[in-house]
C-alpha cells in the first residue's frame, strides 16, 4: 500500500511518510478511480452547458426494503428520463449506492458519495434509522439532501436540518387524520397492531392523538416478523370491532396471509396506515388482500388527476407493473431536484440560493398539491382515506373515500 502510494504521488521519501499521509494518498487514488469510473458511465447528451449535476441516491437494493428501494429508483429514473436528464442547463447524473437496511452501511455509502464521487446532492433513504443516522453528517457537511421515504417524525422536529428536505411524508401525517375518522365512521373499539420500531409507534401515537374511542390492546410484533399466530391470538382475545395497523413490506404480506387463513377478519374491520395495502403487497398476496380495509395515505393508485394518470400509465408501460406509493415518492423527489435546478438556472454554487429554490418548489404531483412547509422542511400534501377494492381490470387497488387537504406535520 505504502509503496504504491509513493509511486502514485511520485514521492521519493522513504521513511518520512506518516500513516495519515499514506491514508490521504490512498483516498486520493480511490477518488480518482471513482471519478474515472463515473466519467465512463455518463451517457453523452447534447444541449447541457454547465458541469454535470450529480445526484447521489442512497437506496436499498438488497435486504428487507429492496422492493421499496427499487420502486423509488424506478420512479426517479422515470421522471429524469421524462425531462431528458437535464434541468437548468445541466445534465443530471444519478449515482446509486445500496443503503441495505443498516444505518452504518447507509452512512458509509453517503460518505463515499460525498467524499469520493463529489456529488452535488444526496437523495434517498428508505429506513428511518438510516436517515437519522446520516443526518448529522449531512448537516455538518451542508449537503443539500432530499429524503425519498424515511418517515421518522424527528427529522421534521428536533433533528430538522436547513439542508435536509423531505419529499415523502412524516409518520405522523397518514395516521393522524385516521384516528378521528375511525372513531366517527367505523367503531370506538379498536386494537392497535404495529411493527415495534420507530415508524410503527409514531404512527400509533398519531392515531391516538385524534381517536376518541377505547384502545383495547396494543399488539407489537417485532419488525421482520415471520409467524403471526401468537399476535393473531392476542388480537382475537382483545375482542375489537376493528384493528388499526402499521405494517409494511413482507411484514404486511405475512400478517394478511396468515390472518386470512384463520378468517380473522370475519367480524373485525381493518383500518390502518396505507403502506401495508399498497400495490407491492396486494400484488404479492393476491386474494389474501384484506378487501374493504380503510387506510390513510398521501396517494392512491386510482387518484383521478392528470399527473397521476400520466405517471401510472408511463410506469406501467416501462416497468410492466403497477406503480406504488414509493415509486410516486421517487418520481416527486426527482421532480423537486429538476424544478430547483431550473429555478436557479443550474447555478448551484450559491448554496443558500439553491436551498431556497428547493424550499420554494411547488407543483401538481400525482398525489395532489405538493409544497414544502418552511417550518419543518417537510412536504405538505393531502391525505386520502381510501378503501381497498378489487377492480376488474387493475386487481386490488385503493379507491379514495375522503380527502383531507394539506396535512402538515406539527413540527413538535
Amino acid at each position: 500500500m505504502a509503496k504504491s502510494s509513493d509511486a502514485f504521488l511520485g514521492l521519493g521519501l522513504d521513511d518520512a511518510l506518516t500513516r495519515r499521509q499514506v491514508l490521504q494518498a490512498g483516498l486520493a487514488g480511490a477518488a480518482t478511480i471513482g471519478l474515472a469510473a463515473c466519467g465512463q458511465a455518463e451517457p453523452t447528451g447534447g444541449g447541457a452547458t454547465g458541469p454535470d449535476f450529480k445526484v447521489g441516491a442512497v437506496l436499498p437494493s438488497s435486504k428487507v426494503y429492496a422492493e421499496l428501494g427499487t420502486s423509488i429508483t424506478n420512479g426517479m429514473k422515470l421522471y429524469f428520463d421524462k425531462v431528458g436528464n437535464k434541468a437548468g442547463g445541466r445534465k443530471i447524473v444519478l449515482l446509486l449506492e445500496d443503503e441495505e437496511a443498516t444505518p452504518d452501511v447507509a452512512l458509509a455509502k453517503t460518505r463515499k458519495l460525498v467524499e469520493q464521487d463529489n456529488v452535488d446532492m444526496i437523495a434517498g433513504y428508505v429506513a428511518s434509522p438510516d436517515a437519522v443516522g446520516a443526518r448529522d453528517y449531512l448537516d455538518q457537511n451542508a449537503m443539500p439532501t432530499l429524503i425519498a421515504n424515511a418517515g421518522a417524525n424527528v427529522l421534521s422536529r428536533a433533528k430538522k436540518s436547513p439542508y435536509i428536505y423531505r419529499a415523502s411524508f412524516s409518520n405522523w401525517q397518514p395516521s393522524h387524520p385516521m384516528g378521528a375518522y375511525v372513531a366517527e365512521n367505523i367503531t370506538k373499539k379498536v386494537t392497535l397492531l404495529y411493527a415495534n420500531y420507530a415508524a410503527g409507534s409514531e404512527a400509533a401515537g398519531a392515531f391516538k392523538e385524534t381517536f376518541t374511542g377505547t384502545i383495547l390492546a396494543e399488539v407489537k410484533p417485532p419488525l421482520n416478523n415471520q409467524d403471526y399466530s401468537t399476535y393473531i391470538s392476542q388480537i382475537r382475545a382483545s375482542k375489537p370491532e376493528a384493528i388499526y395497523f402499521f405494517l409494511s413490506g413482507t411484514d404486511a404480506n405475512n400478517f394478511f396471509t396468515q390472518a386470512k387463513q384463520v378468517d380473522l377478519f370475519a367480524n373485525i374491520k381493518v383500518t390502518g396506515a396505507g403502506f401495508g395495502v399498497e400495490q407491492d403487497v396486494t400484488q404479492a398476496i393476491g386474494d389474501k388482500s384484506p378487501v374493504g380495509a380503510i387506510t390513510g395515505l398521501h396517494w392512491a393508485y386510482t387518484l383521478d388527476n392528470k399527473e397521476n394518470k400520466d405517471f401510472t400509465t408511463a410506469y406501467k408501460s416501462r416497468y410492466g407493473r403497477l406503480a406504488d406509493v414509493f415509486a410516486m415518492q421517487g418520481y416527486d423527489t426527482a421532480r423537486v431536484i429538476a424544478e430547483a435546478l431550473n429555478a436557479v438556472k443550474g447555478k448551484t454554487d450559491d448554496k443558500p440560493a439553491f436551498l431556497k429554490a428547493i424550499a420554494a418548489v411547488k407543483f401538481k404531483s400525482p398525489r395532489g398539491d405538493f409544497r414544502f412547509d418552511s417550518a419543518t422542511n417537510n412536504v405538505v400534501n393531502p391525505i386520502y382515506i381510501r378503501e381497498l377494492v378489487k377492480d376488474p381490470s387493475l386487481g386490488y387497488v385503493n379507491k379514495v373515500k375522503t380527502t383531507i387537504a394539506s396535512v402538515a406535520d406539527p413540527g413538535q
Partner: protein, 267 residues
C-alpha cells in the same frame, strides 16, 4: 427439516454450511416456478427437493470436495459467498418483489377445534413435518444408510477403513441436506411468502436450533426445533417486546448446562 439437514451435514462432514438458507430460498423459487408452469402444488413439492438435491450434489462435487481440509474459515467464506451469489441470481431472475405460493386446494380455510381456529394449511404443515421427522428418525435409527451416517458422525476415518466410499457418502449427505432445505422452502411458501432475503431470515433461527439440539443428531434437530418453536410462540405473550430474547435465552441456558447441545455428542 432445515435443521436436520444442516445438523447432519455439519456433524458428518464437519462443514459449516452458511448456504443452507440459500437452498431453502432456492427450493421456494423452484416451487414457485413449477407451480407457475403446472399449477400443481404437489408437483412443486416433489420437484423442489429433487432439484435442490441435484444442485447440492453438484456444489459438493465441484466446490466442497476441494476444501474439506482447509478448515472452517475457508468453508464459511465459500458458503457465505454462495449466499450472496444465490440471492443476487434470484433477484436478477425474479426481481425483488415478494411472491406468494397459493394455498393448495382443500387447505384454504380454517378448522375450529374447541372454539379455537387453526388454519388448515398450518395443520397440514405440522402433520407433514411430523411425518418427515418420523421418517427421518426411522431412517436414521433403522436403515443401513442411517447406520453409515451415524458411524460417519462418530468416526469418519474408521468408516473409510471399513471400505465404505466416503466420497459418495459425502455427496449423498450434502445433496440430501440440500433437498430437505428445498422441501422446507416450498412448504412454507403459502405461509411466509417467497422473496429474496428469506434465506437470511431463516438461517439464524436454524443455527440456533442446531446449537440447542446438538450437532450431528437428527433427534437433536427435532427436539431443538420444538423447543425454539415453543419459545418463539410463548415468548411474546410472557415477555411482550422480548421475542428475540426468549429464543436466545433458551440457547444460552442450554449452552451453559450442556455445551454440546441437548443431544449432541461430546467432543
Amino acid at each position: 427439516m432445515l435443521a436436520a439437514g444442516l445438523s447432519v451435514i455439519f456433524g458428518l462432514m464437519d462443514v459449516l454450511n452458511l448456504a443452507h438458507g440459500s437452498f431453502y430460498m432456492l427450493g421456494a423459487y423452484v416451487g414457485l416456478t413449477v407451480l407457475g408452469v403446472s399449477g400443481n402444488f404437489w408437483l412443486a413439492l416433489i420437484a423442489a427437493p429433487v432439484a435442490l438435491g441435484v444442485i447440492g450434489a453438484l456444489i459438493e462435487v465441484v466446490f466442497f470436495r476441494r476444501i474439506y481440509r482447509e478448515g472452517h474459515l475457508m468453508q464459511v467464506l465459500l458458503t457465505f459467498g454462495f449466499t450472496l451469489v444465490f440471492v443476487d441470481l434470484i433477484r436478477w431472475r425474479f426481481g425483488p418483489q415478494t411472491h406468494s405460493l397459493p394455498t393448495p386446494p382443500g387447505l384454504e380455510g380454517a378448522v375450529h377445534i374447541l372454539g379455537v381456529s387453526f388454519a388448515s394449511y398450518k395443520l397440514f404443515v405440522i402433520l407433514f413435518a411430523s411425518v418427515v421427522a418420523l421418517g427421518l428418525l426411522l431412517a436414521w435409527r433403522r436403515s443401513r444408510v442411517g447406520a453409515i451416517l451415524r458411524a460417519g458422525v462418530a468416526d469418519r476415518e474408521m468408516l473409510g477403513l471399513l471400505g465404505i466410499d466416503l466420497k459418495r457418502v459425502f455427496t449423498g449427505t450434502f445433496a440430501f441436506g440440500a433437498a430437505l432445505a428445498g422441501l422446507a422452502g416450498v412448504v412454507v411458501g403459502p405461509y411466509l411468502g417467497v422473496y429474496p432475503g428469506m434465506d437470511e431470515s431463516i438461517l439464524v433461527l436454524v443455527l440456533v436450533v442446531v446449537v440447542v439440539g446438538g450437532l450431528g443428531s437428527i433427534e437433536g434437530a427435532i427436539l431443538g426445533s420444538l423447543l425454539i418453536g415453543l419459545a418463539n410462540a410463548i415468548g411474546p405473550l410472557v415477555l411482550g417486546g422480548f421475542e428475540a430474547a426468549s429464543i436466545f435465552a433458551v440457547m444460552a441456558i442450554v449452552l451453559l448446562v450442556r455445551p454440546q447441545g441437548l443431544l449432541g455428542r461430546r467432543q
